[in-house]
Point group: C2
Chain length 224, copies 2
């Protein structure tokens, strides 16, 4: 009986628009993961029934495409003003930060096939910057492929920026509890001497690989 609408709503709410729906959806997913994002819950968060959202997005998939584009929008776009290496490093670091802020995104990023304007602008500017550095078009494809695969792959093993340390430590302990040390001595060593050591940071780990790759690319770069 709580469902009874006793008084008409005083038309208080402005009509929804795509942007704000996407914002709310991202927030929901940030808080509880993608599986916590249902049309009904999202509607509720916006003061509306779930079905109302279908007037703005044809399917849930379309909404998720919008969410992904919104994450792409948080990634630093390379400019000609910056040195190519600086620009690529900045792009990768800001991408990792975005993936850390939105842990649901990495697993679905590269499998989407409806890129939005932010994604297009980002890739366009990236290609442009690398071509301008003197790389040929095949090499540009190679470079973007390595950098993005590495970044997304790494982003996938992140949970959230702050909790990742304790999380990984805890996970290491859980694993070693179930699979005893003497069966997997080297895994034990790695967990106890590296991952669970104070000061271990995923971001540092990411930077190591990133600089390794950037160094290798720089070696292929045409003379300035």
């Amino acid at each position: 009986m709580t469902g009874k609408k006793t008084s008409a709503k005083p038309l208080s709410r402005a009509p929804l628009d795509k942007e704000s729906v996407i914002r709310a959806a991202v927030k929901l997913a940030d808080e509880g993961g993608l599986e916590a994002l249902s049309m009904r819950k999202l509607g509720h968060a916006l003061g509306v029934e779930g079905m109302a959202l279908y007037h703005h997005f044809a399917k849930k998939e379309a909404l998720i495409d919008g969410m992904i584009d919104s994450v792409h929008g948080e990634i630093s776009v390379p400019t000609i003003a910056d040195d190519w290496r600086v620009a690529m490093r900045e792009r990768a670091m800001s991408a990792l930060n975005a993936l850390a802020r939105h842990p649901w995104a990495a697993p679905i990023m590269e499998s989407r096939q409806n890129p939005g304007p932010a994604s297009m602008q980002l890739i366009e500017a990236t290609i442009k910057r690398l071509l301008n550095a003197g790389f040929n078009i095949q090499m540009v494809a190679h470079i973007i492929s390595v950098l993005d695969a590495y970044t997304i792959g790494f982003g996938q093993q992140l949970r959230s920026p702050t909790e990742s340390i304790e999380h990984e430590v805890q996970m290491g302990k859980d694993i070693m509890a179930k699979f005893p040390f003497d069966l997997y001595p080297h895994v034990g060593r790695l967990v106890s001497e590296v991952v669970s050591k104070a000061g271990y940071r995923s971001v540092k780990e990411f930077e190591f690989g990133l600089d390794l790759i950037l160094d290798a690319i720089a070696r292929l770069a045409p003379a300035k």
Copy 2:
């Protein structure tokens, strides 16, 4: 003692075991993606009601953990007999092949937190091989981190081994149809001159980045 009873009473159907359930689940997911894998459909494929599976797996998650471990079991385990670089290359290539055979796997691989025996054996042997090559334990962590992040990230943009070429070509066309050439000229160039060119192969693309990374690692290796 306890002599094995071999009474020959014919069963209507041999009882399920974890292995065969996992095999069937992997097959279902290979064919229709993870979202095509429901407990009821899986049960049906095995000649059983969906709920029967809960006598073998506590939750669907546990089944998926088993599936992931099964994919890990398809990856080539490094041995001391092989040169470390050869072993790591082989490991990465076979991992990519496994991810291509099971396109549902990459997005969920690194987020699982219940590694099975195959995963443990693989990581144990990998660490062992790298330590034996003279890398210190921190460096081993770095190396595995780069290689696995790259491999999983790349695996994520694969669909399936055979269709990936046409798929990417088609996707390139779709994108360029929606976002006109003149808005994104460099993306247009990349699609037309690289991705949609005859002979473009995802595997070659993967190998480029893999060798780039392996070269860079080799430069950090202690003298033999």
